[in-house]
């Protein structure tokens, strides 16, 4: 199995005036290709902080982080951007679709920044929306879609660049149970096709649907395999 993510003794500290608050306290984590991991922990335990570091939106205060064998440190924002484009597909709790763009335009967005030409972009985005079961909704605006449909658009958008890791922070947090489990089914399907998924949640039941659960408690990892 290929190792795609390796964290060694990761610390994240925030300076708050005179006080330093240590949010991540020596995280060690290895993720291999094709895994479906749930990061489970109570509110304030540092899940989102960890996700930001995995997603290269932020860098650790100390420790070593390797993503696809490449060391992520205090690089220039531009370089981090290029890494994100290639490696990470983000899915957020509150979808973050651009409200004035149609579903297909939203899915195209990462391709615009990757420099894909217009026609191909549209084709790929439409195809991806079909994959998440929204082929009849490609020209709908976000407000014309249900919450579950919006999150599926967001998943299609996260998948469009064929990322190494699909990174989801509370992907069903804003959804009811039924649509939530539809989203989970989609994750299962994507994982079966070989996609590596890291999902953050504080819901034990959701976490159980993953292949592996990583407990995070007060900035430390307690691993538990299923």
């Amino acid at each position: 199995m290929t190792e795609i993510l390796h964290m060694k003794d990761i610390y994240k500290e925030y300076q708050m005036g005179d006080e330093v608050s240590v949010v991540l306290k020596g995280i060690n984590l290895k993720v291999e290709k094709g895994e479906f991991i749930a990061v489970l922990g109570p509110s304030g335990s540092g899940k989102s902080t960890l996700m930001n570091i995995i997603g290269c939106l932020d860098v650790p205060t100390s420790g070593e982080y390797l993503l696809s064998g490449r060391k992520i440190a205090d690089q220039e924002e531009k370089i981090l951007t290029h890494i994100r484009r290639k490696e990470i597909g983000f899915i957020f709790q509150s979808f973050y679709l651009l409200s004035r763009h149609t579903a297909v335009k939203n899915v195209e967005l990462p391709l615009i920044y990757a420099g894909t030409d217009k026609k191909l972009r549209h084709e790929l985005a439409a195809e991806m929306l079909k994959k998440v079961g929204l082929d009849d909704k490609i020209n709908h605006l976000p407000r014309q879609l249900s919450g579950g449909q919006q999150q599926r658009v967001a998943i299609a958008r996260a998948m469009i660049n064929d990322p190494t890791i699909l990174l989801a922070d509370e992907p069903t947090g804003a959804l009811d149970q039924k649509t939530g489990s539809q989203v989970m089914e989609l994750f299962q399907q994507l994982n079966q096709e070989g996609r590596t998924i890291i999902m953050i949640t504080h819901d034990e039941n959701l976490a159980r649907q993953a292949k592996r659960i990583v407990h995070i408690l007060d900035g430390n990892i307690v691993e538990e395999a299923i």
């Binding site: 930001n52 939106l57 531009k78 484009r85 967005l109 990462p110």
Partner: protein, 397 residues
């Protein structure tokens, strides 16, 4: 990418039409004010200039009042003047009032002007019948004349005046030609003509001098071949005149059109710059409006910026998005302003009775200004947006 940014910018502008309109209004007002002021000033002064220029930038007019020892310029002086380098000709002018008559008709208030062939060469008053006076008429013993249409109407209402003889102050002159009364380009001649009720007759200058009883010329136009050397030529003319009047001060005055035109030119440039400067204050105010709107927009769209960055937008691409939006706003304002400004200019020039001349410089300045305003005032908000950290941007609500 540029096209994408343009489309996105246009989307945003369209989605807040009222706000975009109000923001652009400052630029519209600024640009139209600049365009209108420049165009109006240039149209007005341009017309004045062409009037002055038609009076001749290629000539130096000398008015020699003389002194106690010498009352004016002699024929020898005229010869000396015409021998100066770069002088293409010298045209003395003698004017007096007298009478013109023929059998049964006497006009007793006629303006009599003495001119030479050079005058007719450069003068572009239309000859309606017959011919101009030429060098052959100038020997001092040839009695030919050119009358104007007023005299023709007064003395030959129903017959051809050419080759007829009229008596000017008692001396018989054969009429060689008739010229238009109105279209004289020589303003002075126009004055002279209108000051006498009966019209103007032009006779060879020597004859006129004899008629006036004088022996010297007090008014001479000196024509310059190459205008670019006019300063040097004028200095030479002054040297000859100084010598002619034995270096006595105040014996003559020189009126040089090109220096008047030059002064007027620099005055109009200054006026244009001053007015455009005042008008561009409106542009700065408009620019601040754009900056304000862009800053609000960046704050409102912080989440969007964070998302775009998370999805792979580089800082420069975010900056481009906002700068292009600012540029689009200011350019739209600029284009509307140009048309509005030109419209105002057309109406104003019509009202003040000068001809409208489209000023490409004004349009270039208007466009340039609006682009500059967009860039300068869009820069800070765009930079602010591009510097937002994606995590911070995503966290705000």
């Amino acid at each position: 990418m540029l096209k994408e940014n343009l489309i996105m910018a246009w989307d945003n502008i369209k989605n807040s039409k009222m706000r975009s309109f109000l923001t652009s209004l400052g630029i519209v007002i600024g640009v139209s004010a600049v365009i209108a002021l420049i165009t109006i000033v240039q149209s007005a002064t341009g017309e004045m200039m062409s009037q002055f220029e038609s009076m001749g930038t290629n000539k130096i007019s000398v008015s020699a009042s003389g002194n106690v020892l010498k009352s004016g310029l002699t024929s020898t002086d005229l010869d000396n003047l015409s021998k100066i380098d770069n002088v293409s000709g010298v045209a003395p002018s003698v004017s007096l009032t007298g009478s013109a008559g023929k059998q049964g008709v006497l006009l007793d208030e006629v303006s009599i002007m003495g001119k030479n062939e050079k005058y007719f060469e450069v003068d572009n008053t239309e000859i309606t019948q017959g011919r101009k006076l030429t060098a052959a008429d100038m020997d001092g013993h040839t009695y030919t004349c050119v009358i104007d249409q007023d005299i023709q109407a007064g003395m030959f209402p129903n017959e051809n005046p050419i080759r007829q003889t009229i008596k000017i102050n008692g001396q018989g002159y054969e009429i060689a030609g008739v010229r238009d009364t109105e279209s004289s380009s020589d303003v002075m001649a126009g004055f002279n003509a209108s000051s006498t009720a009966d019209g103007t007759v032009i006779i060879p200058y020597r004859n006129a001098l004899a008629l006036s009883g004088g022996s010297t010329y007090s008014s001479v136009d000196i024509y310059i071949a190459d205008i670019s050397l006019s300063e040097q030529t004028q200095a030479n003319v002054e040297a000859v005149l100084d010598a002619a009047f034995n270096y006595k001060d105040n014996s003559y005055r020189i009126m040089d059109m090109s220096s008047i035109v030059e002064t007027m030119n620099s005055m109009s440039t200054m006026l244009t710059a001053l007015l455009a400067g005042i008008a561009s204050i409106a542009l700065v105010v408009g620019g601040i409006g754009i900056m304000n709107m862009m800053l609000v927009s960046v704050t409102e769209r912080t989440k969007e910026i964070g998302l775009r960055k998370a999805l792979g937008a580089e800082p420069l691409q975010i900056q481009a998005l906002f700068i292009i939006e600012a540029l689009t706003l200011s350019l739209i304002g600029g284009i509307i302003g140009i048309f509005l400004g030109l419209g105002i200019s057309v109406i104003t020039t019509a009202l003040i009775g000068s001809t409208f001349a489209i000023s490409w410089m004004a349009i270039a300045i208007g466009t340039g200004f609006s682009v500059a305003v967009g860039l300068i005032f869009g820069w800070t908000p765009a930079k602010k947006a591009s510097n937002l950290k994606p995590i911070d941007a995503l966290r705000t609500d």
